[in-house]
Amino acid sequence: MRRLLARRMKFHLLGAFLVSIGCATLYKFGIAEPRNRAYAEFYKSYDPMKDFEAMKAAGVFECAPPK
């Protein structure tokens, strides 16, 4: 029972720190990084006018009908 609180506190503080840092790292490298890369890749070779013409041809625009 000696140093009961100190031992418990040390264990839990360390654990909480590691778990939170771990969660943050996992999120950054599992979710945030791939997302940023996907956006970068998409916009590298993105031609908005070509995209617009394709959408216009498909007929989704009310004010720009496919003609």
Binding site: M1, L4, L5, R35, A38, V60
Partner: protein, 171 residues
């Protein structure tokens, strides 16, 4: 502090708890209720509880208590254990021991989840009516085609999964 001022004004005698009301018929002496007395607890952080575990000692135990007042080397091992058990309910090892309660809890949780599932299946089969026509195959495929035409979520979503050149889903 304000409360004590109120007491002074109103007079201590007029504030009676139900216990005191009961005592008014019995010469003004109230038997202390169990919950008001110090209690015994089995807790890791309370090594010496306020009272001994056994409150009312039998004659044999009282004799043992008398013997305890003499030299302790005169006590046998069994007597020492008996004295320990009189003072404490569970030893630290017994107190900290885990139980199998988690199995019961897990079983109960899964059981009620299953029961809920059965109820939901029954409801879908017997209670709910037909789903809207917008869930039919033709409607859904027309809906998806329109989403792709509009280039919905082109970076990571549905339009990113469609190959617009080959007109099929990406592998």
């Amino acid at each position: 502090m304000l409360a004590s001022r109120v007491f002074g004004l109103v007079g201590r005698r007029s504030i009676c708890t139900s216990l005191c009301l009961r005592a008014h018929g019995h010469a003004g002496i109230v038997k202390a209720e169990d919950y008001t007395l110090p209690a015994y607890v089995d807790r890791r952080d309370v090594p010496l509880p306020e009272v001994a575990f056994v409150r009312d000692l039998s004659a044999q135990q009282q004799a043992l208590k008398e013997k305890e007042k003499a030299s302790w080397s005169a006590l046998s091992v069994d007597e020492k254990v008996e004295l320990y058990r009189m003072k404490f309910n569970e030893s630290y090892a017994e107190m900290n021991k885990g139980t199998n309660e988690w199995k019961t809890i897990l079983g109960g949780v899964l059981f009620f989840l299953g029961l809920t599932g059965i109820i939901l299946i029954w409801q879908k089969h017997f209670m709910y009516g037909t789903i809207p026509h917008t869930f039919s195959e033709e409607w859904l495929s027309a809906q998806t085609k329109r989403m792709l035409d509009m280039r919905v979520n082109p970076v990571e979503g549905i339009s990113a999964q469609w190959d617009f050149d080959k007109n099929e889903w990406k592998k």
